[in-house]
Symmetry: C2
Subunit: 569 residues, 2 copies
Amino acid sequence: MRSRHYLLATLKETPADAEVISHQLMLRAGLIRKVAAGLYTWTPTGIRVLRKVEAVVREEMVRAGALEVLMPMVQPADLWQESGRWEDYGPELLRLHDRNQRDFVLGPTHEEVIAELARKEISSYKQLPLNLFQIQTKFRDEIRPRFGVMRAREFLMKDAYSFHLDAECLQQTYDTMYAAYCRIFERLGLDYRPVIADTGSIGGSVSHEFHVLADSGEDDIAFSDSSDYAANVELAVALAPTTERPAPTQAATSITATSLESACEQVGLSLQQAVRTYLVKAAEDQAQPWIAVVVRGDHQLNEIKLGKLPTVASPVEFATAAQIKELCGCDAEAVGPYQLQFPVIVDYSAAVLADFVAAANANGAFMTCLNWERDITIAAQADIRNVVAGDPSPCGKGQLEIKRGIEVGHIFQLGTKYSDAMKVGVLTESGKHENLTMGCYGIGVSRIVAAAIEQNHDQYGIKWPTALAPFEAIIIPMNMHKSVRVQATAEQLYAELCELGVDVLFDDRKERPGAMFADAELIGVPHQIIIGERNLDSDSVEYKNRRTGEKELVKITDLAQFIQQRRAS
Amino acid sequence: MRSRHYLLATLKETPADAEVISHQLMLRAGLIRKVAAGLYTWTPTGIRVLRKVEAVVREEMVRAGALEVLMPMVQPADLWQESGRWEDYGPELLRLHDRNQRDFVLGPTHEEVIAELARKEISSYKQLPLNLFQIQTKFRDEIRPRFGVMRAREFLMKDAYSFHLDAECLQQTYDTMYAAYCRIFERLGLDYRPVIADTGSIGGSVSHEFHVLADSGEDDIAFSDSSDYAANVELAVALAPTTERPAPTQAATSITATSLESACEQVGLSLQQAVRTYLVKAAEDQAQPWIAVVVRGDHQLNEIKLGKLPTVASPVEFATAAQIKELCGCDAEAVGPYQLQFPVIVDYSAAVLADFVAAANANGAFMTCLNWERDITIAAQADIRNVVAGDPSPCGKGQLEIKRGIEVGHIFQLGTKYSDAMKVGVLTESGKHENLTMGCYGIGVSRIVAAAIEQNHDQYGIKWPTALAPFEAIIIPMNMHKSVRVQATAEQLYAELCELGVDVLFDDRKERPGAMFADAELIGVPHQIIIGERNLDSDSVEYKNRRTGEKELVKITDLAQFIQQRRAS
């Protein structure tokens, strides 16, 4: 490809509204352009990367035995009414109607359409298991589209759905897909981790997320430093302390302070010796309408874990400021477990405290030297906090570390949620009708491009892993338009590399060398070939590796072979 | 691929609501399934064909120098308001709004989005010409979606848009794209014709359609029997007769009859000696509000040609039955040119008639022996009829034949319609600001699949051209589950063919041979390998070619090589 016939579309300035580095670099390197909030055009350099991701994903899906299909983006509402998601799905589901006023949605996922296909096409257990995938455009009407294609409204996704008679068969396909996902991210050259995850609103039981590790990631992931254990912090188990709760040493005392922090400071204790309290709605079958939940002062409450407790309403509903005022007569941060009329659920780590500090249900009032049982009855102990670095790993080996990740894949064992709702069943070998067990498997194809950049960049631009690079090599002839020798060498090497099938960009623009170097670094072409008068005196050109920064002189006659070896390695 | 792990989804019965053969066969062969009116899921066999079309189209676009991009399906309304199409486009344009009540459309084409990209990214004449393409999902809210994917609402299209400083440069890219389109249809193995076409509502001047020839096509195409000339009948020029109009021989006489046909019969003349008359709205600048247009009794009025006459309102607006009643006091079919108060435009072929028959502006009243000028004043003569077989070709060589075609591609020289409306311009070499000239180039990727079937099928199913076939070969082992020999041979040949990279379907279902043969014919696999006990006695299997019907016995040891040769030829 010659730059003069190409739409390079690089920018010198960082666009003002791009917050994260991948968004900035995707705009600056000419990968995408904004059409409207959360809607982007993939420009030529971007689509080259996107198609490479797509090809790897497709190959690995086929290798894993999944069959490709293509479902429509516009889906009839009646299928969503049948599954119950027409009611359950929030405003991210874009609803529309056609010229005949019939209701449709723009598909955010395709469980309903695939279930409809399966119930019509799968009639016998002999057809199982069946795993169908598509690579297709999705739409989610995000309330705050941002970070470019990282959280766009329209995006490219690979989604797969598998159908089984039993959990064992589902587990086999799930394992196959898990392995396929690992191969995909390995082939793409990304530093990733599969982590145990929550199943959220999709439903189901077992679930793993695949995260590309990057400091800018939105998710916290907990890893064992001594085993393969990894889980989203949402889900990572915080083990109960093995230490016993110490005996009380002092009488509970009331003090005044402006905050829990300053109360602790007054009495010379750390936040680890204090607790925070939240009021949440109790489950419908509970005697009391509210429950107080308590975590250690330095810990964060984990809503996902909390929502799974049988006594707590799910999804978790916190008391509003007005409700707290009415119930406790104070502000939210003044709620404490002492002399509270509601059952108190205490996180394991908070439950082993003695002589601790807490707010005292009046603005500015705190208690010190509180002790469980003596002063406050514990209704139940549970794991309701986020793990933190240094916690023992729940796998039993080592300690947890916390890293940030960008979710690029998510696999679920759905169970029979959709097949029960939509009656997707078959006749079994014994002639019985049984609803199918489903798995679903998503990869954010366009999101991978952004995640790869978050993980692979420097101050000059993108450092693509080879498998993702828009071009494998770039020829940068310095002042070609003034030098017949430079031009002839550039043309010769371009022809040689094309002949070898190298996907090479020939920068034949009439630009200053500095601008050409900057663009090459920015768009992140792995192998750079710089042709200048001086090196030509020794029949050489300069090679530069974008990722390692390695530079060396290479004889013109050896160059094509040299690049051929580098791209294979 | 083993059938048991595949979703064959073939049907024995023809679905009742499928009218055309391609729709029937796409359902029966398991290529598509209906989700809602005009919305289809492409099932595994279908997507294999679709991806093959897509790959050929992409390769040829790249070869033609076009750069791939990907624009969003959901487009902001403001771009459409700017181009004027928000008003002009009818209800086929699906309009919707997002959670913030902002207006969007589901893109039926992408002129606006690409023009927006071009005006931001093309700043200098040095970047020209630029040709951008995408392969992307489109939505058109057809009033009557039908014929399966032939006229679906959601469909896959390749659309390209080129930008130029002048008409000459546009013509060059247009010629390149014309040639690329020819290569695409040749590579796909289709019998096609490029034809001169109308530019319709897209606007512009020069335009060609690419038609796959098939008796079931919706379009009539006129060909010269002696040259390359081909044009959509909408546009094909009907040359004025070279014969002189004969002199009148008799006085005009009034008769009564129930129809023009019976009037002709009464006086012993054919419809070729009669005329039909239509009342249409005159252009705004005309003195009279209505114009009568007259064609020969056996000819069809051509609205496209009529709409291009400066005296006629465009688009053509016919008088309603009520308006005719008021204006002429009769029904529509009783309108005639004799003693009519409106200007009369006469088709060239009708204008050379003498002593002809016409309706006489009262129900049941006709005139015979009418003569132009003597009885009726001709306001203008024009070519306003469809050509018919036997007409002289407008290229000057030979006569016209009429065939039916399915439009699968359409290329346009758009001119500056969009760049004027949306101010897409550059600074020229002389420093002047100039709006760009555009071309646009569409291919119906999903429609090609249906068109190929309309052209290539028999009573048993689809006869795919090799380039389009979902599988290259199929292994049909007869009663494999009862014969170790058959099974072993099948497994061996399957392994050998896979090893050679042949895309082979191994029908390992426990089915009767008859059902397996029927499925193989139905889905149209080009090379069939039938393994049976009897032929194994001579170490042979049977080969059958789906397109030619040719059968021969092939030694097992030669089979892989035999297929390898066949697929290459």
